[in-house]
């Protein structure tokens, strides 16, 4: 069992590191993790679920704003992008945040096609991240179920 736990932990560690290396997560995520403690053991999960709910909502808003026959309200789109940028940067969703920065510029330039494309990318990106983090949480659960503790991964 210990070996199993150790193996899981190793797997977990590697997984986390890969997420950072691939640019899915950044330091802010580390900060978030550091805020999790015995007092709030599900803090990260809670925050991330809120974040993904926000993503769904904001992407939906933007899709609606961009899907208008007639004039597109880029300000509205921009406002949503801004909010997404804020929340993604707060949770450490690095790629999503990066896309938001581009997206913002496209909105300011009122580049319709660019915005639509960017929105699609955002949509893909947050869903990918969601899946990856879900895997991470699953690993954590497995470790705990196997009797081990989730290791603190040190991102150099």
């Amino acid at each position: 069992m210990d070996a199993h736990v150790a193996q899981l932990q190793m797997q977990y560690r590697n997984y986390i590191l890969s997420l950072y290396q691939q640019g899915f997560l950044d330091d802010q995520f580390t900060e978030l993790k550091s805020l999790q403690d015995d007092g709030s053991p599900d803090f990260v999960a809670e925050v991330l679920s809120l974040f993904f709910d926000d993503c769904v909502k904001l992407v939906g808003n933007m899709a609606r704003a961009l899907d208008q026959t007639g004039t597109v309200d880029f300000c509205q789109v921009g406002a949503n992008v801004h909010q997404l940028k804020g929340s993604s940067s707060s949770v450490g969703a690095k790629r999503v945040k990066g896309l938001c920065i581009n997206f913002k510029e496209l909105c300011e330039a009122k580049n319709y096609e660019g915005c639509v494309r960017c929105l699609q990318q955002v949509d893909v990106e947050y869903k990918t991240l969601k899946a990856k983090l879900q895997d991470m949480f699953n690993l954590e659960k497995q470790i705990v179920q196997a009797g081990g503790i989730v290791p603190q991964v040190d991102i150099n």
């Binding site: 805020l35 809670e46 809120l50 929340s87």
Partner: protein, 506 residues
């Protein structure tokens, strides 16, 4: 929080500092809340600015600090910032994903204590308590200045706790502070710059047309400020506004100025100094007596230039705007400042002394001939007018917020207060310095506001010595600023004064 709890909180400050966090983004709000908890603050969150305002209004002393996002759907973060600052005078920290300096500038201009960028780091939040201390320190100073216990008595846990915290931090005895406050209590309200700014903000908020004392009082939310205080201040403000408006229309009515002086002197028992010199600067300031808004009340003026009497006479003429309340020419013996050359033939020779005196007072104005005084006189006159409303039991310094503020009231006022102490050169010098600066400001619309503000601040320093009027001055200053800016052109003022070599623009 009971007082005991407050004390306990104080003991551990910044632990337990009560923060209200506002952000429409629930992800960020949760993170913020957690971070704040990690810093050991007491946190209340809401995702609506309106709710935040309600919470704050419900109990002004329930929170020590507000952190708010800038972009919120139900209310602009800057608007919330303004309202919180105006109504509750709590430190507000802005939070935003906008790193654009113009947003930061906007935040600062609207009164934010700090502007943090998202994502917020815990290190930044660990230091926010300093804003609470700073603010309570300012409040304490204001409390000392504004008689009464604007901050302390109303005593709310928060405020008291803040002050206590501050004390604690400064290792100052709470009793000492209490005593201090007690000693500083004055029967009158001094309209410090801060208080005046609050007044202005409140007036802006309701609109000058809807400005009623009750509303303004509520918005200002200052303890120990009565509706009557606000009412008289508002009255002065309105008069000042009107006068400035009139002034702009009518120019150069020295007679009025002269009469003002006379009035002033009569009030102070200094006799009237009409100074013909007024024309030099008077045109700008007046269309007539009415225009002398900016000038401090005679009293102060009179006080300022004990020696003036002799030199002022230059253009003294009793006719011209008989603003004087009393006889245009008070008995000579009462006239320290003689508006009538004849009355004091020695003035001629004294003129130099006058010049000198003012210089003492004005530090550098001496080069100006007596005319230089006229601006003062005019100013005095203005203030006089404006402080006319205020029963001035103290000759010392009528608030003439307008004028005197410009003259660096605090100093001047002190000076003026010493009716008998005209000879104190040091005071004069100090005053003159201020006056000089003030004058300069008066004439430069841009700086008028600054002056007025600064002068009222100065006034604050002189709390004890200043009378109610001073308060008005400050307030007038504020209102006048806008008016002056729009009404008066710098050139105009400069031109007017140039004649008299008015060294306002020191």
């Amino acid at each position: 929080m009971t007082v005991e709890q407050g004390v306990q909180a104080v003991d551990q400050f910044p632990v337990g500092m009560r923060v209200l966090a506002v952000d429409d983004d629930q992800t960020c709000l949760l993170i913020l809340e957690t971070l704040l908890h990690r810093c050991q603050y007491h946190v209340t969150t809401t995702d609506k600015a309106q709710t935040a305002l309600e919470l704050l209004r419900e109990n002004k002393n329930k929170f020590d600090l507000v952190i708010s996002d800038v972009d919120m759907p139900d209310m602009d973060g800057f608007k919330l910032l303004e309202l919180v600052g105006l109504e509750m005078d709590l430190p507000v920290i802005m939070l935003s994903a906008h790193s654009d300096p113009k947003y930061v500038m906007k935040g600062v201009k609207h009164g934010a204590c700090d502007y943090l960028l998202k994502p917020v780091r815990i290190e930044e939040l660990k230091n926010i308590w300093q804003h609470v201390v700073r603010k309570s320190k300012l409040k304490k100073m204001k409390g000392i200045v504004t008689n009464g216990e604007s901050e302390g008595n109303s005593d709310q846990n928060g405020v008291r706790a803040n002050r206590k915290r501050k004390d604690q931090l400064e290792e100052k005895d709470e009793e000492e502070q209490e005593q201090e406050r007690g000693n500083d209590k004055k029967p009158r309200v001094i309209w410090t710059r801060e208080l005046h700014n609050k007044f202005l903000a409140a007036v802006d908020h309701v609109g000058i047309k809807n400005a009623v004392p009750k509303k303004i009082l509520d918005l200002m939310n200052v303890d120990n400020l009565t509706r009557e205080n606000v009412a008289s201040h508002l009255q002065k403000f309105r008069l000042a506004l009107k006068k400035i408006t009139n002034e702009a229309k009518q120019q150069a009515n020295m007679a009025a100025a002269n009469s003002h002086f006379m009035q002033m002197s009569s009030l102070k028992g200094f006799g009237s100094f009409h100074h013909s010199p007024i024309p030099l600067g008077s045109s700008q300031f007046h269309g007539g007596a009415a225009t002398m808004r900016h000038y401090p009340s005679n009293r102060t003026f009179a006080g300022m230039f004990p020696h003036v009497s002799s030199s002022l006479p230059r253009n003294l003429h009793n006719d011209g705007g008989h603003m004087l309340q009393g006889t245009p020419f008070p008995p000579l013996e009462n006239l320290h400042i003689n508006s009538n050359n004849k009355a004091f033939p020695s003035f001629a020779s004294q003129q130099s002394s006058l010049l000198v005196a003012p210089s003492m007072v004005l530090e550098g104005h001496q080069q100006s001939t007596s005319p230089s005084f006229s601006p003062h006189l005019e100013i005095n006159k203005r203030l006089e007018d404006w402080s006319n409303n205020i029963p001035q039991s103290n000759v010392h310094s009528e608030p003439d917020a307008l004028g005197w503020n410009m003259f660096g009231n605090s100093t001047n006022q002190t000076y003026f207060c010493r009716d008998t102490d005209f000879g104190s050169s040091s005071a004069a010098q100090a005053d003159s310095l201020q006056m000089k600066q003030q004058h300069e400001n008066i004439f430069s619309p841009m700086t008028v506001a600054q002056l007025l503000r600064s002068s009222s601040a100065n006034e604050g320093l002189f709390m004890g010595q200043q009378k109610l009027e001073n308060g008005f001055m400050a307030s007038d200053a504020g209102s006048l600023d806008d008016i002056v800016n729009s009404m008066m052109t710098q050139e105009q003022s400069q031109a007017e004064f140039s004649e008299g070599d008015w060294v306002w623009v020191a």
